[in-house]
């Protein structure tokens, strides 16, 4: 099949632009071609402007050069995406692409049941899949109550706690359970940022009433991470009214946040106090036993039977949150599948090295000199001096060898840093240490000790 005009243009541009320019600005572009026209689409305004200013002329020239059709090529450049073109969006939603006037979920003119509510619930987040422990049992019990009796006594339900502890999971579990009990329930899950985005688009498109109707006609509204309403007054105002309307109609509202209502900064007082009207439940970081249970359950979902000792090993090291526990077990399983090795404690230790190591210490020549001088109880100045007695020369050679191993400095640079020595002296020092490490146990041990001190 002949290459499309756009593909030819891409191939050409790839050879003319730097790799970074091409990967950052050209690869994200999408083109829709007809016989005499080409529409180039950029994912956002920023990319559009950047490309317009720097590359569009070049792109036009190349396209015209490759155009074999008799008529001139019409080239347009606008914001848009491949998915919006293909209509591949999985769910109907208000388009991110503001200029495309497709039917969106707010469009039905009549309020109420005609509106096509999109739940956005994740089917995997159920009560069954939620691992219960001391740290989350109150929140779980409250959630179960709300799921049984939505719009009842616990309204609103406010779940708060640190990041990655399972707030969103519980919220979805309630939603899934409400729908399981009553498939006709209109349950909508939304992240607060998206609520804000939808409202802004509603305002821009003169569709704010549709927006209001949409959110005020649900049976349960699940709104995640409300701390992101901070400082957004217009959104808070809108949410306040939605909130009141839902509560008045005995519809359920469930919110999550990273902290207790009164402690959320940038939020209006009337909202804070209202958020606390119903039931407020905290989730704490999991204690050791819960972490172990979570790891074993997660592994089982990947059809891996995790030994208790391995689960304990991981849980002891990753205490802060469930998401990181999940990341760790994901990595262990991936490495086990990749290498075909069994998951033991030793194997896990090795597989999690990348996750547990926080940061490579920045090792500098100065740092090495100081550490070596301390170790041998001499002064740094001795290392840099002209003295060649064994008590100074040996540590100096060790320090040079460590500098070569632990830094990327060139041998001449290392030589310079050791009192202006020649690079051949450095090379000699490194060879000498290598020899001695094999023949002299003490040097070997010194070297290993210093290496450990410098890298951990």
């Amino acid at each position: 099949m002949a290459l499309s005009l756009w593909k030819k243009c891409l191939n050409h541009l790839e050879s003319e632009l730097s790799a970074q320019q091409f990967n950052t600005w050209i690869r994200p572009l999408h083109a829709v071609e007809t016989e005499s026209a080409i529409r180039i689409l950029a994912p956002n305004r920023f990319v559009l402007d950047w490309v317009n200013e720097r590359f569009l002329e070049q792109i036009s020239q190349i396209l015209n050069r490759y155009n074999e059709a008799p008529e001139a090529l019409s080239i347009s450049f606008e914001i848009g995406t491949k998915r919006s073109q293909d209509n591949l969006v999985e769910r109907p939603r208000i388009p991110d692409k503001i200029e495309k006037k497709q039917e969106n979920r707010f469009s039905p003119r009549s309020a109420g049941i005609d509106i096509n509510h999109v739940s956005s619930l994740q089917p995997g987040f159920t009560f069954e899949a939620f691992v219960e422990g001391k740290s989350n049992q109150l929140a779980r019990a409250a959630a179960a109550q709300v799921a049984e009796n939505p719009g009842g006594a616990y309204n609103p339900l406010y779940i708060y706690g640190g990041s990655g502890l399972g707030k969103t999971h519980l919220m979805h579990a309630i939603g899934n359970s409400i729908i399981a009990n009553n498939p006709k329930s209109r349950v909508v899950y939304i992240h607060s940022e998206r609520f804000v985005g939808d409202m802004v688009r509603g305002l821009q498109h003169n569709a704010i009433n549709d927006f209001k109707r949409y959110y005020r006609s649900v049976d349960a509204l699940l709104i995640d991470d409300i701390q992101f309403f901070a400082g957004k007054e217009r959104s808070q105002e809108e949410f306040f009214h939605t909130f009141n309307a839902l509560l008045e109609g005995q519809k359920q509202v469930i919110m999550t946040c990273d902290r207790y209502p009164k402690e959320v900064g940038g939020l209006e007082e009337r909202l804070k106090s209202r958020f606390g009207w119903g039931l407020t439940a905290a989730i704490e970081p999991p204690e050791l036993e819960t972490s172990v249970a979570i790891l074993i359950s997660k592994a089982a979902q990947s059809r891996v039977e995790l030994a208790h000792e391995v689960a304990f090993f991981i849980a002891k090291r990753i205490r802060s949150n469930v998401r990181e526990l999940e990341g760790a077990i994901r990595r262990v399983i991936a490495t086990s599948r990749f290498t075909g090795q069994e998951i033991t404690v030793d194997f896990t230790k090795e597989a999690l090295k990348d996750l547990l190591a926080l940061q490579d210490k920045l090792v500098t020549i100065e740092n090495i000199q100081k550490t070596v001088a301390d170790y041998y109880k001499i002064r740094v100045a001795d290392l840099l001096s002209k003295r060649r007695s064994r008590s100074v020369a040996r540590p100096r050679q060790v320090a040079m060898a460590l500098s070569k191993e632990l830094t990327s400095h060139s041998l001449p640079e290392i030589g310079d840093a050791f009192g202006g020595r020649d690079h051949t002296t450095v090379l000699h020092g490194c060879r000498k240490v290598k020899e001695l490490k094999e023949s002299d146990l003490r040097i070997n041990e010194d070297y290993a000790n210093l290496l450990r001190t410098l890298t951990t």
């Binding site: 891409l10 950052t24 491949k82 990273d258 996750l355």
Partner: protein
């Protein structure tokens, strides 16, 4: 005598998985390759970290290249250049199939950027867009202030990109020389290695400069040529 100018247009050597020197990073590279080819079904975010010159940017750009081969759309966002951009750069990026964020540590502590990346992450999750992030440290070691972002970065697969040892660097240098059509025998490589900075950025840019210099001078790369070149380089950089 006038010097011969090298050809104006040289075929540029774009970053791909084929021209990456894998060494001890096989699992990482294979995982990235699969993610960028949308194979394997798992769209968990990938996070790779390592020191300067370990090859993070190369791998991220190779992933973008691979996505294009799979007929998908990808974008590479170098956050070290964030001062030239605004967070609006991230809008709508979830419509691509693959987004690569390089040097995320560069925006650490900048609330606006951190939040924009957090929201992008959530939108990508909803859309099933593959995310690959590169940084100079593990998620907990990057000084990000938004805990929600840190825990999400640690949720996917985290890999450290192991740096090459000296022997591997030597081989990588020679492989690169061969790829750009340069002859570099062992003696020359070792000579260069014992005198130049040994991080891969310095070595590769030196190689590029040498490639240019040998073309201009119409000479082969020999130790005397290298010696003269390095001496001249020293003078210019001083």
């Amino acid at each position: 005598m006038t010097k011969q100018l090298p050809l104006g247009i040289r075929l540029r050597d774009h970053a791909t998985f084929d021209n990456f020197f894998i060494a001890d990073n096989r699992q990482l590279v294979v995982t990235l390759q699969q993610a960028a080819a949308f194979e394997g079904g798992d769209t968990a975010a990938l996070y790779i970290w390592g020191g300067a010159g370990s090859g993070k940017s190369h791998l991220l750009q190779a992933a973008c290249h691979r996505a294009t081969v799979a007929d998908e759309f990808a974008g590479y966002l170098p956050l070290r250049d964030h001062k030239m951009f605004t967070p609006e750069l991230l809008e709508g990026m979830e419509s691509l199939a693959l987004v690569c964020l390089d040097d995320i540590e560069a925006i650490a502590g900048q609330r606006e950027w951190e939040e924009a990346i957090f929201h992008l992450y959530n939108r990508m999750q909803r859309n099933g867009t593959q995310l690959i992030v590169a940084a100079n440290a593990a998620p907990q070691g990057v000084a990000l202030s938004l805990a929600d972002l840190v825990t999400r970065l640690g949720w996917g697969l985290v890999f450290q990109l192991n740096e090459l040892n000296d022997e591997q660097k030597l081989l990588a240098l020679q492989a690169r020389a061969e790829a750009i059509g340069m002859q570099m025998n062992n003696d020359v490589a070792r000579y260069l290695f014992s005198r130049a900075r040994r991080d891969m950025h310095s070595l590769f840019s030196l190689l590029e400069a040498l490639d240019h210099a040998t073309l201009v001078a119409q000479r082969r790369l020999t130790i005397p040529f290298l010696k003269a070149f390095l001496a001249r380089d020293q003078v210019t950089s001083d």
